[in-house]
Subunit: 218 residues, 2 copies
Amino acid sequence: MKVAELSSRSGTSVASIKYYLREGLLAGGAMTGRNQAEYSEEHVRRLRLIRALLDVGGLSVAAAKAVLSAVDSQATVGHDLLGIAHSQLARAGRSDRADPAWAAARAEVEAFVRRRGWHVSPASPSLDAAADAVTAFRTLDQADLLSLMEPYGDAAEAVAAKEVAAVVARQDPARMVEGTVVGTIVGEALLNAIRRMAQEDASARLLLPPDRLARDSG
Amino acid sequence: MKVAELSSRSGTSVASIKYYLREGLLAGGAMTGRNQAEYSEEHVRRLRLIRALLDVGGLSVAAAKAVLSAVDSQATVGHDLLGIAHSQLARAGRSDRADPAWAAARAEVEAFVRRRGWHVSPASPSLDAAADAVTAFRTLDQADLLSLMEPYGDAAEAVAAKEVAAVVARQDPARMVEGTVVGTIVGEALLNAIRRMAQEDASARLLLPPDRLARDSG
């Protein structure tokens, strides 16, 4: 197909396609003339993955490129790809990491991981991200909400076992790699949306008078 | 205290403080001279909340202002505040909502909510956010991962009941309001970080050879 059809099939503007080609996120098509290239189903598929990383995952183009290089590399084994996806997804730390309060929070997170017996690399960006959040709870004088860490741990453990099993069940390595990236990013968006609906439900049950409870929800 | 001390106490630059004053996120101090104002502990506390909304929650200044107005309004009851916080947190929808595939995903999410017996307002932005994620899974040819919706629902239900109970246990309405906002935003960051650590653990156990499993993690 020509670039115009690739654009309509993938829901991506021609200008964006050219940008992804220039930045190396998308491989070029087969040249059929001086200024004409032919694209395939592989390109449609790849463009959809690029859009998921940028739009759903909120990745920068540079971060998406790093994840896609790992996806393309035959050398990346499943477990390492998860680490690469997590690193690129980690937002730049906003907390002041020289702050003793942050160091204490980081130690608290490490103790949590040890207590649960989880295998987490000391270099995992998730340890820092969790320490950022713990620091924020303490700084904002909401330390009582840290009692939620253990329920979060229980929920995460149950969910992660099923997520990893679903991806590993695929067998085909390329599909596993895709599932790791999409599952991490889109799965997070889905879980967060579902958590908010469950909060709305719990809050309605606890705080709304019965007549409004009946009226407000379908 | 003077603005310089407010700046060092809150870890916020004087320029940022002036910007928040101009934008109405922060109330002015008591004027003690033509160009001198006196600030209180209330200002330190408010600035920390503003920073959490912007830095940890990733809200725009306009969105933070909307959440803070709701926090300030005596008229906002607990349950409605949750709705306001969720609305401001919801990222602008990226999916094409005129697309029949999106409408099908939205219906699928509504059926999921009905099946679980959750009280969710039809106007809740979380329904749209979940539909965006479901559409992304289908478009990316990863529909098998939608089997995770039920485990996500179980995990969210368990976690949300404890989150809402922890906030309601506070009794003081101002502290409840703060807990709702901080718990939604910072709690999401914490849960996501913990989920990734649990994924790393599940992936390591399933995919790494025993010698590397022992070497990689503490």
